[in-house]
Symmetry: C2
Subunit: 255 residues, 2 copies
């Protein structure tokens, strides 16, 4: 499985993804699921992919091939609006899934692929799109300024509680880490390292792109600080009316 999340705030977009890929439970590897397409002057795209790894890689390959083609074909460069890029990627994804659908059905393999596409084209605003395996897509809204693919449930409560479009870009990056880390803790099919890309609106380039592993000091500090803080908040929750004041609160604060 996989967990990818994109957060769109007023100042820009944060993209986050785990890297665990598994074929069954006894073949577990790490693959990048966050793909930056930055070879343009007037636009920038980031793709997050979930689902069948072969399909995801083929989607990226086709997108690159279309960009290199000289026959005037549609590609990420020809889109005038961000939604046209989402529509194009959706059609690429659907074509590739259809190529393999009969063989996959015969083998009982799920060949679905969900994609988040985010970025900006000069003259338009920054945004993120969730592209379904069927090729259609939705845009994030100001009410729900995030999109998720893969194992999305564990990391959703903190997004629902803490994300607004007014959140600063670095705070949004921290929140993406909190959301991904909650998923990693609760689900073995989502794992370190975490890829993170931070896009500041109108910059048309990825300002920061980092990978965080268990040896990354910042990730260790973030995890420890979050765990200790949560335990403290839990200890300070109001008591039931039958409890004597000052009782309770034996939550260990270690991680």
């Amino acid at each position: 499985m996989t967990y990818c999340v994109a957060l769109r705030v007023a100042d820009g977009i944060v993209f986050g993804a785990d890297t665990r890929t598994n074929a069954g439970v006894d073949y577990i590897t790490a693959y990048r699921k966050l793909h930056v397409f930055a070879e343009f002057d007037d636009r920038i795209f980031v793709l997050l992919t979930a689902g069948n790894l072969g399909i995801s890689q083929e989607v990226c390959n086709w997108i690159h091939r279309d960009l290199l083609a000289t026959d005037g074909r549609e590609n990420l460069r020809t889109a005038q609006h961000l939604f046209e890029a989402a529509d194009y990627v959706g059609r690429v994804s659907r074509s590739i899934q259809e190529r393999h659908s009969a063989a996959f059905a015969n083998s009982g393999i799920d060949g679905g692929s969900s994609i988040i596409l985010g970025g900006q084209i000069r003259g338009g605003s920054h945004n993120i799109f969730l592209i379904y395996p069927q090729g259609n897509y939705i845009r994030a809204s100001d009410d729900t300024p995030y999109l998720q693919i893969g194992e999305n449930k564990y990391g959703k409560p903190m997004l629902d509680r803490l994300l607004t479009t007014r959140l600063g870009l670095d705070d949004a990056a921290r929140l993406a880490l909190v959301s991904i880390d909650a998923t990693i803790r609760s689900n073995l099919t989502v794992g370190l390292p975490i890829d993170l890309a931070i896009y500041q609106r109108d910059s048309l380039r990825i300002g920061r792109q980092i990978r965080l592993d268990q040896d990354t000091a910042y990730l260790r500090e973030l995890r420890s600080s979050w765990q200790i803080g949560l335990a403290r908040v839990f200890d300070e929750l109001p008591r039931f009316d039958w409890e004597a004041p000052g009782t309770g609160g034996k939550v260990p604060s270690g991680s």
Copy 2:
């Protein structure tokens, strides 16, 4: 859908359940999913049910009927060990599902029913069991001292972070509320009111049983305190090395 959770700590057991039941999205009602069987001197049982409501009710009906029967048949009173009660409930559940399986299959209805059974029989220890739709069951362990049925993913991270068997009984009750409330916030098919039952080990009776709704002052205080606390902990997380100290932290603390 449904979310039920049971937490087994050294001091006893906490049972929690939402009450939302839906047939499609346009017929939403509230039904009790937490059932106490307390008409004994030497034992106590609590059942949490998830899945098809008709099956769940029939399971409870059969258990009650078996208790009233005078032909010496197996029932909750005849079990010598807690696992025998789980085995019995599993067989009741499976029999009922089998009765309806052909009709359900014809209608495309999922008639599965998952059950958590917890309690204590004098002379044995208190424990909780998860009974699968197939009738088999597992027991909670000291490493994983909780069991969930229904929409279990949203509420799992806080259990993984904060629950140990050393947690006090009232703290465990608070943690159950935190876990259920996270699920209610993120998933429309899980809803208020929340039923909570607290069992102190060796008491062989339910010490406290409460229902919390949106008008319950304690639930409002707990939600507000948790939301404000989480926002504060998030604001205090360590900064990335490229951030100036003291920057960031614009999370709204209102719920």
